[in-house]
Amino acid sequence: MAHAPHKYLHAFVAEATEQLEQLASELVRIEQEAPGGTLWDSIFRRVHSVKGSAATIGLSGIVAIAHAAETLIGKLKAQHARPERTHVDLLLQATDALVQEVQHASGTAHAPRADEGAPLALAARLAEASRLLPDGVPAPPPAPRIAAQKPVADPGTPRLDVAFSLSKACQAPGARSLIVQRKLKGLGVLLEMDPQPAALMQKKGGVRVTALLATARPTDEVRAAFEGIPEVEEIEVRPAPIANAPSPEPQAAEEGGAVRAVPDTAGTEEARTDATVRVRAQALDQLLDQAAEVLHGIARLREAARHLPENAAAQFEAEIDRLRRTARDLHSRVMNARLTPFSSLTERLPRAIRDLAHRLGKEVELEVQGGAVELDRTVIEALADPLTHLVRNAVDHGLETSAQRISMGKSVRGLLVLSARRERDKVLVEVSDDGAGFDGERLRQRAIDMGALSPDRLPEINEQQSYELAFLPGLSTRDEATDLSGRGVGLDAVKSAVEGLGGKIALRSAPGKGSRFTLELPLSVSMANLLLVQVGGELYGLPMTRIVATTEYDLSARGGEGFEARSLAVMGQLVRAYSLAKLFGLPSLAPPGPRPFAVLEVDGITFALSVDRLAGKKEAVLKPLFPPIDRIKGLAGTTVLGNGRPLLVLDPRGLHELAEVSQRLRGAA
């Protein structure tokens, strides 16, 4: 299908994703909460909201699942009892499937789904579960208040026969005929209506409805009353034969107040926060980049001001100072706008913990502290996997089974605490459990077996230091990793993720009492998209924001080896080409022949750098240079690669200056 994506698809995806995340966590909570709360209403509303928007885009898989889930939720709510685990499992499964469908709609819409029929099959299972449930105890079908009461009219009032058809396209004939009924009641006494609106509910359009109206109004006026009602056609209004007048019957008692299908949920929701608007995260990133650019520009202006005559410099610098204060303020405001609460990380965890604990026959109580503590969005995003890993690890390896805990005199439920707190410019995130703790002896033994620790060093290592061995790559205290927390990701991966953010991780443990991971994280980080290039056997990063293109060119064919600077045609423009190896005095290990070039632009000047190899792209946290390498021209900062190795990030402006200097020197020589 070659449909253009819906204009507001991104809004739908963002909203639906958020709703479904909340839905999953509420489903986990509903198992623990006392029945009769308003959580079901919130759950219902989330599914319903996703369904409505999905229907408008035409995402039929989502509509099918959501509709069936909605029905089941309604049934479960009516039970006024704690839901069974199988039902919650099924609804969680539906939530997962909806998430998948939303993801499918959002991006990978070209890739065919594994099983096109899966949504319908799931919807069928949800429907079956609904069917098997008994109807709610006080049977709360939101019956509309159309009582079967027989109204009476003055026998002297003329009667009108009214007939109309509901159009075939009418999707809610009950509601539509109720509107007609209301209209007719406003014109006189409606003595009969057949079928009654309630009887048309959930039926198809195209139905013919007849009515008997006692009214003194002319037929034309009654007919005209239909003009403002959509989906009604073939309207007939004519005086009724006298025989049609029905005899008055005892009036049925008006039905009691209609059952509220949608209870007022005020008070159950979290307190309303200040008005917010949804902003694409990318837009904030761009704003941040630009705010940083402004700061850099100001720094360059200040540098340039040094060459001004004395009298002009003072005023100029005063203005620059003012500008810099404003720019700093702007920068920190954008930084703050990117802050995300810690709770956004922990929201999904109860679900993961619940599933895992159930599978392992364990009881786990999760406590989250400091959910409101805010961290940079980049940190939050990068922390999601490591944190999940630590939590799974704690449930899988740290906490004992209920039986073991009882025999040791511990509480049946294992306690898992996730906390975040701010300390000056750092945020400390802790994951602690009251389980068995790490086994220092086993860790030492494994490290020796792996050759990571020399046996002669054993005496130097105390118990706490032994625990730190757990961060060594490939070291797991279990001989076989379980598929639950194993997944080929070890604590070493957690460590390098934390260090990649410019943070630190520490582990404290006590046998039989539990363990605690402490992650020390920076409050804010600046991310850079890097092009990795290799020169002289080393990798370097070039900021993608400065890269115009990459190309390949064989300069040796035009003048042999040893070129210093030449020109290169890039996109119809002649640009200067330099060898990155030469600029840094490094050996080039590339064989003669075509070489890759990175084409950069700085201050409107385009130039090309030859490298040995282009080694891909990488998003990394940029850390400032430390002395003495902060004095080297052409370097912008450092970062840590996924494998824990440091990487030097190059400064294109500095490189260009370096190139110009070497060019001049050569010219002078």
């Binding site: 409505g52 939101p142 208040r145 309630a198 009602i229 949608v262 005020a266």
Partner: protein, 122 residues
């Protein structure tokens, strides 16, 4: 004829955007948007729009309760419920509460405008 002013009420931004486009393209002015029932009632009092499109299932206050309050405040208020398929009983409840008419999601722009023009007598 002066430009008709509409208040769009829906808790989903996606739906509000979609409705906004439909109305704007048809020459209506979008007087305001609300994402829950409480805000809907407040904005109705403040903006006095010619027309309200009202979602049913929303946080804080349902579209039905909001409609009831709006109609109590102004018996001539034109409130069109935006319902999903399978919500007929809620729509009927909303009509009892005073809603003028309804549209059923998924809808096309022309469906919405057909109902709106009909109830506004255009």
């Amino acid at each position: 004829m002066p430009q008709r002013r509409v208040l769009i009420v829906d808790d989903a931004l996606f739906m509000r955007n979609t409705l906004r486009d439909i109305f704007t393209a048809a020459g209506f002015a979008v007087a305001g948007e609300a994402d829950d029932g409480v805000q809907a009632v407040n904005l109705f009092r403040e903006l006095k729009p010619d027309l309200v499109t009202m979602d049913i299932v929303m946080p804080y206050k349902s579209g039905i309760d909001a409609t009831r309050e709006i109609v109590q405040h102004d018996p001539n208020a034109v409130v069109i419920m935006c319902s999903a398929l399978g919500q007929e009983s809620l729509v009927m409840e909303a009509i009892e509460a005073g809603a003028t008419d309804f549209i059923v999601k998924p809808f096309r722009g022309e469906d919405v405008l057909a109902v709106v023009k009909k109830v506004l007598g255009e």
